[in-house]
């Protein structure tokens, strides 16, 4: 880890966390509706993956806020999307679960568990065919690894030999069901290792995730073949805002929070002189302002015209 990397890690993780804490608050106030899935506690996994991967197309599930933030999509467009406004990244038609932006190579935002993995295989095929691939990454949760989509995709990525990184964020719970109760393997990377190289990393350590993803990226680009990473992480919040979370013990949560990815980074980086207290204070202030501006932007933005209902169904209208 070097100074500039540590600074980026801190900025995006902090921005991601504050964005979500504020989103939670706005949800409670009724400004945000629907399902809101927070990734608080998982920032090391999300930020490490996106920064480690660099350029290239990215597909993700519905817990997509922090990934989008790390991709560099301005938070005001994301907050406006949560508020359902026309200025949102998906024009207020997608909401929390459906952030899309082709200009950021960000392909959703998909809310059917595991069903976006075949899209990533197909896109990786297309890019390889067209001879212009930076590599493709698809993120999915532990729950998705029990689905047919997952196994079909492991097989086809290996058959087609496409440059695709399978990135599994294992937060140990498929909604409210602990993964080892419904999966034959506790170590999920073992499901992939007969198809492609597969490793497990500590997802609470942003640098470990970053390192593993950077190496994987090099591999898929040079070899033109798929690769698999399982990042062990934990979400502090329930599955979504409408879930009580009482299927987990307070002790289990506390143990995870003791390994908090942001605290973890701060401790290490301050000690090694990669971050300074001044820098951290400055970032905290900057993040606070940015979130404030994002909320203000969302509040002041217009609702979509009712005519919008009929737009964006087809390209050729």
């Amino acid at each position: 880890m070097n100074k500039s990397l540590a600074e980026k890690f801190y900025y995006y993780m902090k921005l991601g966390r504050e964005f979500e804490l504020r989103a939670k608050e706005e949800y409670m106030k009724g400004n945000i509706g629907g399902f809101l899935h927070l990734a608080i506690g998982e920032e090391g996994t999300h930020v490490g993956a996106i920064l480690g991967f660099g350029n290239g197309e990215f597909f993700v599930h519905y817990r997509d806020h922090v990934y989008a933030i790390a991709r560099g999509i301005p938070t005001k467009f994301l907050m406006a999307e949560l508020f359902g406004k026309i200025t949102g990244i998906s024009k207020g038609k997608g909401g929390s679960m459906h952030f899309y932006s082709s200009s950021f190579n960000f392909y959703g935002g998909n809310a059917i568990v595991g069903a976006h993995i075949p899209h990533a295989v197909g896109l990786a095929y297309a890019k390889k065919y067209l001879g212009k691939s930076d590599g493709v990454m698809v993120a999915f949760g532990d729950g998705a690894t029990n689905s047919g989509n997952f196994y079909e995709s492991l097989n086809l990525a290996a058959v087609y030999q496409v440059p695709l990184l399978f990135f599994c964020e294992n937060n140990n719970y498929a909604i409210g069901t602990r993964i080892d109760r419904v999966s034959a393997f506790k170590d999920l990377y073992k499901k992939a290792k007969d198809y492609m190289p597969a490793v497990q990393v500590d997802g609470m350590d942003v640098f470990e995730v970053y390192k593993a993803v950077s190496l994987a990226k090099e591999y898929i680009q040079q070899e033109g073949k798929p690769y698999f990473i399982e990042a062990l992480t934990y979400r502090y919040e329930p599955h979504s805002m409408s879930d009580s979370g009482d299927y987990r013990s307070a002790r289990e949560l506390k143990l995870a929070q003791e390994r908090d990815p942001i605290d973890n980074l701060l401790k290490k980086a301050l000690k090694e002189g990669l971050l300074t207290k001044e820098f951290v204070e400055e970032v905290d202030k900057k993040v606070e302002m940015e979130i404030e501006e994002a909320v203000e932007f969302a509040i002041n933005s217009k609702e979509p015209d009712l005519e919008e209902l009929y737009k964006d169904i087809f390209c050729e209208d």
């Binding site: 990244i89 932006s101 935002g109 059917i112 069903a115 295989v121 197909g122 095929y125 065919y129």
Partner: protein
């Protein structure tokens, strides 16, 4: 030109000029296609463009969505519409929704071809028709090909469309030889008048169109009337202007399809005609469909469950007599 050759020619002609067009499906490449529609394309374009997939319909459509997002113009073949149910999530939750959920950011120029309908003793899992379940999903276009003209020009239009198209073929039409001629400005969404007539408007598509045309000869002879026959080439978007115009003239409507009756696409056609032409009608519409049963293996039961030219004729004649023709 054989119907299957017209389909192949549509793909071949476009593949020659656009190398972003790729095909994928089960047995479509080396094997030549279960119904030989893609025969020869593997040799001509190679395995990167004519992709043999495993038997995994969900991934065929899921991968094709990704290919389309990645700058290709894929054509997926589902061996028969019966197997499309394995890809139903990909078709409904993804293919039909991604553009909308992305606020218009993304386009998915994907055509999914599939044959449907009753062939001969293929039993309940290989004999179904599903236009009702595709045509009722916002975000999908649904075209039908009933002869070599619609097969060629319609499929070309589907492939060139930047939107998702479900392209329905009929399993018994592949080996049929239909007239083929050049047409300028073909537009599959406009529907087609196949035959002019004065006393009944008959609406149909796919194989039932041909069975109906046979039946119409008998009906016209027995009742001493003429029947106007309209082919629906596009079930979504569903433009019925030609049908309304015709019904206002003939004052009678018959719709024929191979789906089981309850909730079949005939219901939608009739509802729209009732909404738009109610006061022009001289009697209730007639709906001729398959029975509300699974299709049987036994040949007698199979034929008993679906419309045939004889049955279509008898039903129209009885209905006509009952209602003043």
């Amino acid at each position: 030109m054989l119907y299957r050759d017209a389909l192949k020619k549509a793909m071949d002609d476009l593949m020659e000029i656009d190398d972003t067009i790729v095909l994928l499906g089960e047995d479509i490449g080396f094997y030549g296609g279960n119904y030989r529609v893609t025969d020869g394309l593997f040799a001509k374009y190679g395995e990167k463009r004519v992709i043999d997939t495993p038997i995994a319909e969900n991934s065929i459509v899921g991968n094709a969505i990704g290919m389309a997002l990645g700058g290709l113009r894929p054509i997926a073949e589902i061996m028969t519409s019966n197997f499309s149910l394995l890809a139903y999530d990909q078709i409904v939750n993804h293919l039909a929704k991604i553009r909308y959920m992305s606020g218009g950011d993304l386009c998915i120029p994907l055509t999914i071809r599939m044959p449907q309908g009753v062939a001969k003793q293929l039993a309940a899992q290989h004999s179904q028709s599903f236009e009702r379940i595709f045509a009722s999903i916002p975000g999908l276009k649904v075209f039908t090909a009933s002869d070599s003209i619609t097969a060629y020009y319609g499929l070309k239009q589907a492939i060139l469309s930047d939107d998702p198209v479900i392209f329905l073929e009929h399993i018994l039409l592949y080996s049929q030889d239909f007239p083929f001629y050049e047409i300028d400005n073909f537009d599959i969404t406009k529907q087609r008048v196949i035959k002019n007539g004065e006393n009944i408007t008959l609406v149909s598509y796919l194989k039932m169109l041909h069975d109906s045309l046979q039946a119409v000869k008998e009906v016209e002879k027995v009742l001493g009337i003429t029947v106007e026959v309209i082919e629906l080439t596009s079930l979504s978007p569903l433009n019925l202007d030609l049908v309304y115009e015709s019904v206002k003239k003939t004052k009678r409507l018959v719709v024929v399809s191979e789906e089981p009756k309850t909730g079949s696409f005939t219901s939608e056609i009739i509802t729209k005609v009732m909404e738009n032409c109610f006061y022009y009608l001289d009697g209730p519409p007639l709906r001729i469909t398959a029975e509300d049963t699974p299709i049987s293996y036994n040949r007698n039961l199979e034929l008993f469950s679906i419309p045939t030219p004889d049955k279509i004729a008898t039903k129209i004649i009885n209905w006509g007599r009952e209602h003043g023709l």
